[in-house]
Subunit: 357 residues, 2 copies
């Protein structure tokens, strides 16, 4: 069966160049060759993370580091900002780690706002806050800079931000905004195969971790710091992913980071225009709509499952028919990764064809 | 720089066929295609694990699952069998997880024996035991079947066995021997890139996990069970590794599992003969020497670091110059993965050349 091109919100298509790097012969992960590989990535990664801190590589998906942030930083109570499937789940994960957690729940499709965060944190007793910058299930991007400004006025609170589906699609200024844990995954806008998570830590996060018990080993932030100082990872890493990352960083800086943001914006605007032209609506308020994917509200009562199926069968494109409780009442189109205005228009032309019946 | 062929004890060389599978285009990890891929692996994996239980796939290195076994199964106290760098470290990991742990320490190069395990467990108070079947740092393989027989007489104790460097090189009979957690990694005898861990759980392990608090999410055994029942993983998996695993399982069953064990045995015997022919000795007692790698005692006062360096520069083969506190006083030759008598003899001829100066 031929491969259906992915326009789902991750994983997305992986380029031939990335796959070529992914298949470089193995090297020992305690060798000088590995240390050179690891160290060579740091300047580019730090630029993309807008940080002077080292960037760490975790052989896991992002959930591993999302859990790690809870285990490493929460001693008192974490405020979990919830506005979709993935941010909601983070609350359950905190509870499963045996941590005290409180919900800051807003409706799916609504953003987290600075005002609601301020009100909650003002109640006191929190030492960490989690939020998902770009809630992939609803295509909603919360105003991160404004929220960070509020959190900075609560010096005991560590700011933990998941940017899995926004990282490298829009700028996220870790040091300037005062983010304590900034984490992302490989398979979204980075357009690598899944299996690697990337994260950076503020000094405040490292100092906090040093005071928190039962951090374990595999995701212990202090082990990442110690091994990272010698350009290594605590455990055997996925060397193939790290080679792929090197290749992808070359691509990103060859394009130019600002050009990359602009391309994602342009791709996304093409999708939004198409949505409007069909009489459809965005699921979130447009002001808070994601730049890397579009969650479309099915206000025309389309048979979404049939549309997804026909698009795959007839045009070999795969889109997502909505996540969790909004399956069918929404659908999602990704513009993450290596897509261009031309490839986005190909997808939309195919969708036009399907909708024309 | 040309690639040096790896004869280190992991990662080992990855075949062109495995890499080809590793680079198949991505698919959604909640799709039917993925479920079919996952389910299709189970019969082969169960045969290799000698179990009727499902085999789970963790996007992590083996340490992730080694830590998971502690977090999921230890409520009272774990007995940590220690006879080398990796098994020793498992004790530290248990402590870092906040668990009560007791050492069952023997000298590096000595095996764990049924007698010592029986003596320790008889003291009482344990609900789990960890051991590394094939301690990679010292090339020592402990008599697992005999030890399992002892542990079976302590019904409260969960038997946790790491077979990272022995799995698929020698038979390990999970159900028959009564192993509760059997875990391995991808980059040793399986000859895949690092980044995937495989494990299976007895019903006893699952029942225990259900009673243990703060298991977290990413490595929660019950999440693996729940998602595995639907042919999925709890979090986004490394799809590339799972494609590579499918390819490697085809190779293993095309060769025949018994033939594969025989080949590893033959390869290993060729190395042992060479060791003797040079007037060198095995680091462990030959009766407990590993079948997948050989840890050579440097009783001839060779300059190991120079030998490793020259072998790489002159012949483009990489071996290991000894691990941790036995670096230089030992060195290690791996015969894991796809190696054959012919390729082992190439390595040894190159070593002869280097030693002849």
């Amino acid at each position: 069966m031929s491969h259906a091109k992915l326009f789902i919100p991750g994983p997305v298509e992986v380029s031939a160049k990335t796959f070529e790097a992914f298949c470089r012969p193995m090297i020992g992960h305690r060798s000088q060759d590995f240390k050179n590989l690891y160290a060579g990535l740091q300047p580019s990664l730090q630029e993309l993370f807008y940080t002077k801190q080292p960037v760490y590589l975790s052989t896991s998906s992002a959930w591993g580091v999302m859990e790690a942030a809870i285990r490493n930083l929460v001693a008192k109570k974490v405020l979990v900002c919830m506005n979709g499937a993935f941010s909601d789940k983070w609350y359950d994960v905190a509870i499963k780690c045996g941590k005290a957690a409180e919900k800051c729940q807003v409706e799916w499709g609504q953003p987290i706002t600075a005002a609601i965060v301020k009100e909650k944190l003002a109640q006191g007793g929190f030492d960490a806050l989690t939020m998902i910058h770009n809630e992939t299930s609803t295509g909603t991007m919360s105003p991160l800079a404004e929220i960070c400004e509020v959190v900075r006025s609560f010096p005991d609170v560590c700011m933990i931000v998941d940017t899995v589906s926004s990282f490298s699609a829009v700028p996220i200024k870790m040091d300037e905004w005062g983010i304590d844990v900034l984490l992302t995954g490989s398979q979204k806008a980075m357009a690598m195969p899944p299996g690697l998570a990337l994260f950076a830590l503020s000094q405040k996060a490292l100092d906090r971790a040093a005071t928190v018990k039962d951090r374990g080993y595999y995701f212990d932030f202090l082990e990442f710091q110690k091994n990272g100082a010698e350009s290594m990872t605590p455990s055997t890493p996925s060397i193939a992913h790290i080679y792929a990352l090197k290749s992808k960083l070359e691509d990103i800086f060859a394009e130019g980071v600002e050009n990359r943001y602009r391309r994602h914006d342009e791709n996304n605007n093409i999708v939004r225009e198409w949505v409007r032209s069909k009489g459809l609506e965005l699921f979130p308020d447009e002001k808070f709509a994601s730049k890397s994917l579009t969650c479309v509200k099915n206000n025309k009562n389309l048979d979404v499952a049939a549309m997804v199926k026909t698009l795959k069968q007839k045009h070999n494109f795969l889109i997502d028919g909505g996540y969790g409780k909004i399956r069918g009442t929404t659908f999602r189109l990704s513009n993450m990764g290596d897509e261009t205005p031309a490839t986005m228009r190909e997808l939309l032309a195919a969708l036009d064809d399907v909708l024309a019946g």
